[in-house]
């Protein structure tokens, strides 16, 4: 069975508090899914199990049908790329080019492949002008891009990103999300932690909602954002247009509107009916 599964996954940090309480989910290969929930709900704890950075206190994590329990982080890194929340926890090389080449080199790819992947990543993230600059000294938005490009260059089938759009302006956020959508269309499985509900409704087709160490729902984004009362209990910010559409339902608007273009179409339908 391909994909990522967790079976009754429990995890407690050293202080003994259970951060995950029996999570069983199944992420299909090729899925593009957002993990959403309040701070401290267990989102990062959950995704850190996907590449072995954390190990279950009990329960199982399966990658393409195989238990990850006896696999090293190094082995798992061939399949699951992980982008940290803080780019500075990742960046260390004297040049952007070397930073990006580090992952492919560690995977022991051929010199040709390393060269190819590095150049491809530099181009993909518009980092060519910064290839020989010291990444730690670049601005925040650029450091973010470098940290993602470095993981992208490993060409792993699974890509996990922890809040990649925090601190980015709208333009950089849009560029990044369009790139992730493209990677997903090329067949990569993408798992994204985010607080930005506008990003979720506009770009991410699936959602996992986490609250107090448990998965409340794992479903299509339109269906998740239709469950208004459930979202309220997680104190997630509901995008303005979803809220507007929800209030317009009693006036005849259809359910499940997520984005501005969808709203305008639904409003046109309503006008035509009237």
């Amino acid at each position: 069975m391909r994909g990522l599964q967790t079976k009754d996954l429990w995890f407690a940090y050293h202080n003994g508090d259970a951060a995950l309480r029996g999570v069983s989910i199944s992420i299909q290969p090729g899925e593009f899914v957002a993990v959403i929930g309040q701070n401290g709900s267990g989102k990062t704890t959950l995704v850190k199990h996907f590449n072995g950075l954390l190990r279950p206190s009990s329960g199982q994590v399966l990658l393409d049908g195989e238990d990850t329990g006896d696999k090293s982080v190094g082995t798992l890194a061939r399949s699951v790329g992980y982008v940290f929340q803080n780019p500075d926890h990742q960046i260390f090389s004297p040049s952007t080019r070397e930073e990006i080449a580090f992952g492919p080199t560690n995977l022991r790819l051929s010199a040709e492949e390393i060269e190819h992947n590095t150049l491809d990543a530099l181009r993909c993230f518009d980092l060519v002008p910064y290839a020989d600059r010291q990444p730690a000294l670049l601005g925040y938005g650029l450091r973010r891009k470098v940290s993602i490009a470095a993981v992208y260059a490993m060409h792993t089938p699974y890509l996990v990103l922890d809040e990649p759009t925090t601190g980015l302006d709208r333009k950089s956020t849009t560029e990044l999300m369009q790139l992730l959508s493209r990677l997903n269309q090329q067949g990569r499985t993408i798992i994204l932690i985010t607080h930005d509900m506008r990003v979720v409704t506009e770009y991410v087709p699936r959602c996992i909602v986490v609250r107090e160490g448990q998965v409340l729902v794992h479903d299509d984004t339109s269906s998740v954002f239709g469950q208004y009362d459930l979202l309220k209990t997680t104190s997630l910010e509901i995008p303005q247009v979803c809220e507007l559409a929800r209030r317009m339902v009693v006036h005849g608007m259809r359910d499940g509107v997520l984005t501005v273009p969808e709203f305008c179409d639904a409003y046109s339908q309503l006008k035509n009916l009237a």
Binding site: D169, S172, V241, L244
Partner: protein
């Protein structure tokens, strides 16, 4: 001659009534190499802020928002060096001629990362710190600290260490420590950028209270367009070191395409207005949810013309 002088007076008076006046401000940080060309961060920024006004500054990353905020209390250029051109007048003081310590009593500055500003053992000590350094009478100080704690809703947490607080509580502490100095002008540089949604809404409700109850002059750099629409009398859009757009939220947020080009999001309801105006030649200019709902629901009474 006398008469002409009188005629010129109103213009001069108006100038005095602006509590903040920025005039043709150019600024460049000092470079490592003396021969390197001057790299201007601000390239001729001019604007006024009236007393009691709420001005939001929007702009993509790296456009000079932080530099502009720092210029409002003299940190730029007094602590940063570099090259400055043009004038900044706050509460009548020229920021080039008065030390930051003097300016700080009139202009309070809240940074993006609350931790850059917190260092005391308790929330209360943090808030009292600025007043102690002014040598204030203890009784008056206690009163001020209490007031500042109340404004940000942190009275119950006064004995806690500022480092064991949530992000939103840290930022509220930082705001209270500035408020205690009773500045006439409060400048906030992306105060919610590093906070989660809960923290963001905590900070925005403090800002809402300040606006409503204290009538303070507030200048806030922010990305959160939907909150900006709620608070601002006026929005200033900074791009490449210059003021590209300015006006009331409804005016600025109706420029959806222009804002997108700059790399900024307007409120989603403003995008809805823009989209519907194109389709139906309407002239909606929504900036807030309630207003959009009222206008759109009006034509479609509940239960009529809708789906079963």
């Amino acid at each position: 001659m006398e008469y002409l002088g009188c005629r010129r007076r109103p213009a001069k008076d108006r100038r005095v009534s602006a509590i903040v006046r920025v005039q043709d401000l150019h600024y460049a940080y000092s470079t490592a190499h003396p021969e390197a060309p001057v790299d201007w961060v601000l390239r001729g920024v001019s604007f006024d802020v009236e007393e009691g006004e709420f001005l939001s500054i929007m702009g993509p990353t790296g456009v000079g928002k932080t530099t502009l905020c720092l210029a409002l209390n003299g940190i730029v250029p007094q602590s940063t060096g570099g090259v400055i051109w043009g004038e900044v007048l706050v509460d009548g003081l020229n920021t080039k001629r008065h030390p930051v310590s003097e300016l700080a009593q009139r202009v309070g500055l809240v940074f993006q990362e609350p931790e850059t500003q917190l260092f005391n053992m308790t929330v209360e000590a943090e808030i009292a710190f600025g007043l102690e350094s002014l040598g204030m009478d203890p009784a008056e100080m206690a009163e001020r600290v209490d007031w500042a704690l109340a404004v940000v809703g942190m009275r119950e947490l006064r004995d806690r260490s500022p480092f064991h607080l949530s992000g939103g509580q840290k930022q509220r502490t930082a705001i209270a420590s500035i408020l205690a100095m009773t500045p006439r002008i409060l400048v906030l540089d992306e105060p919610t950028a590093s906070l989660d949604p809960l923290g963001k809404s905590e900070v925005f409700s403090v800002v809402r209270e300040l606006r409503r109850q204290q009538g303070m002059t507030i200048i806030m750099a922010e990305f959160e367009s939907e909150h900006i629409a709620e608070f601002s009398d006026r929005i200033l859009v900074l791009n490449q070191g210059q003021v590209e757009l300015q006006g009331k939220p409804a005016e600025v947020f109706s420029q959806v395409d222009r804002m997108r080009q700059i790399g900024l999001a307007v409120a989603q309801v403003s995008e809805v207005a823009h989209c519907l105006n194109r389709r139906y030649q309407t002239s909606y200019a929504f900036t807030q949810l309630e207003e959009a709902y009222r206008a759109l629901a009006q034509d479609h009474p509940p239960g009529l013309g809708g789906l079963p």
